[in-house]
């Protein structure tokens, strides 16, 4: 994490060597919450590929020279995919206001902005493809922390320099985020979101009043837990908390390029128009 090339190479070598000595290792589940809604469960289709993971749960949480938890690594998972409710504790339901529930029920999957290469927002963006935390500067206490998502080539900026939130941030897809360490837990406090992204394929909505407090805890080398408390009085009757877990991908797995706009043919096979194109081509 300190940006020293030799140190990183040694760390990666250590990961491979230690992992080699740990055969066999057991698999772990991706999320803490109940299984995601499987609306397509009846489709006789093979699972859509895998991202190899390295299970190094018995290795301790890595730390930097000053003792701060080191979040370095390529992570997989950590957010909702099909249904935001999947991250709730068992027995809970999303406390949607009537209008929000009605909007969710009226939305159809082909309208998902994500289908047309628009961002998935927070915390959904972490649920798709590998991603990383990247601090800046790397050799001393970070003033900025970036999240780089392979999926859709998006990034997120988190201010770690102690600044407060802006008075009136311009609503944006990833909001305005400030962060700090609470012991071994990274806290990210975010406001200033727009209301355009969908939290899941079910179309769970939110408003610009959205306030998210994420608590990221690296429980061991290969497990990164998220506890996200969501407060949006515009769409929900009370705050609620979702839980997800990201896993460390296999040694040597790096982020790959993903330019969604390159050749997106979504809708042509199923006959779905792009509802986000203001001026459809004739």
């Amino acid at each position: 994490m300190r940006g020293v090339k030799g140190e990183m190479q040694m760390r990666r070598l250590l990961v491979v060597v230690v992992a080699t000595l740990m055969l066999p290792l057991s698999a772990q589940s991706q999320t803490q919450g109940p299984p995601e809604a499987a609306s397509d469960a009846a489709v006789p289709f093979r699972a859509g590929g895998t991202t190899p993971l390295s299970d190094m749960a018995s290795l301790p949480t890595p730390r930097m020279a000053d003792g701060t938890v080191d979040l370095w690594g390529t992570w997989v998972g950590g957010g909702p995919v099909n249904d935001m409710a999947a991250g709730l504790k068992a027995g809970e339901e999303l406390p949607m206001l009537p209008w929000a529930k009605a909007l969710r029920e009226s939305r159809t999957n082909p309208e998902d902005p994500h289908n047309f290469c628009l961002p998935m927002g927070v915390p959904r963006q972490a649920g798709a493809f590998p991603w990383r935390f990247v601090p800046y500067p790397t050799h001393t206490a970070a003033t900025h922390l970036f999240i780089l998502w392979e999926g859709f080539r998006n990034y997120r900026q988190i201010f770690m320099d102690g600044r407060p939130h802006s008075e009136d941030p311009t609503p944006s897809w990833f909001g305005e985020s400030i962060g700090w360490w609470d012991g071994d837990t990274l806290v990210i406090d975010s406001i200033g979101f727009n209301d355009k992204f969908w939290w899941d394929r079910a179309g769970t909505p939110h408003t610009e009043q959205l306030h998210i407090v994420e608590r990221w805890t690296r429980a061991n080398f290969s497990t990164l837990n998220l506890e996200a408390t969501i407060d949006d009085p515009g769409a929900f009757s009370r705050p609620f908390t979702v839980y997800h877990t990201a896993k460390h991908s296999a040694p040597g797995d790096e982020l790959k390029e993903y330019i969604c706009e390159e050749n997106n043919q979504f809708g042509l096979a199923g006959g779905h128009p792009n509802p986000y194109r203001a001026d459809p081509a004739p």
Binding site: M22, D40, A128, E150, N263, Q265, A269
Partner: protein, 128 residues
């Protein structure tokens, strides 16, 4: 045909894996009630996002040729599952199994691609 099988630290670590989710849901674009199995000659492999696409000329019983457009997973996922952009070349004979589009007659989604030598590769695009 050249095929690069990506092996991730093979022999070094026992890897577990989680399914990755794709760009969109299966059922909004494709019909599980339209299974497709075609044999034909590759005309093009587009190694692009959000999905790679395999185009195959298929000669029907009436002698006419239809160029199928098969959606596959995205290159990042395919590479993590044994594919490369050089895995198939134009004129290669392949068998593609998958499902047809809900509306388009010559668009489909590939579940697997089998090559002349019998090797088969996962090709699935959506999460199921």
């Amino acid at each position: 045909m050249r095929m690069t099988l990506g092996l991730f630290a093979a022999g070094l670590v026992l890897l577990c894996a989680v399914p990755v989710v794709a760009h969109h849901s299966f059922s909004v674009e494709y019909d599980a009630g339209k299974p497709v199995k075609v044999t034909g000659a590759v005309t093009k492999l587009e190694w692009t996002n959000p999905h790679a696409r395999l185009y195959v000329d298929v000669v029907g019983s009436d002698g006419t040729t239809t160029n199928w457009n098969f959606e596959m997973a995205s290159p990042n996922i395919l590479e993590r599952n044994g594919w490369s952009r050089r895995a198939v070349q134009p004129k290669d004979q392949v068998v593609v199994e998958g499902f047809g589009g809900r509306q388009s007659a010559n668009r489909g989604i590939a579940n697997s691609v089998t090559f002349n030598d019998g090797r088969a590769l996962f090709a699935g695009a959506p999460d199921r």
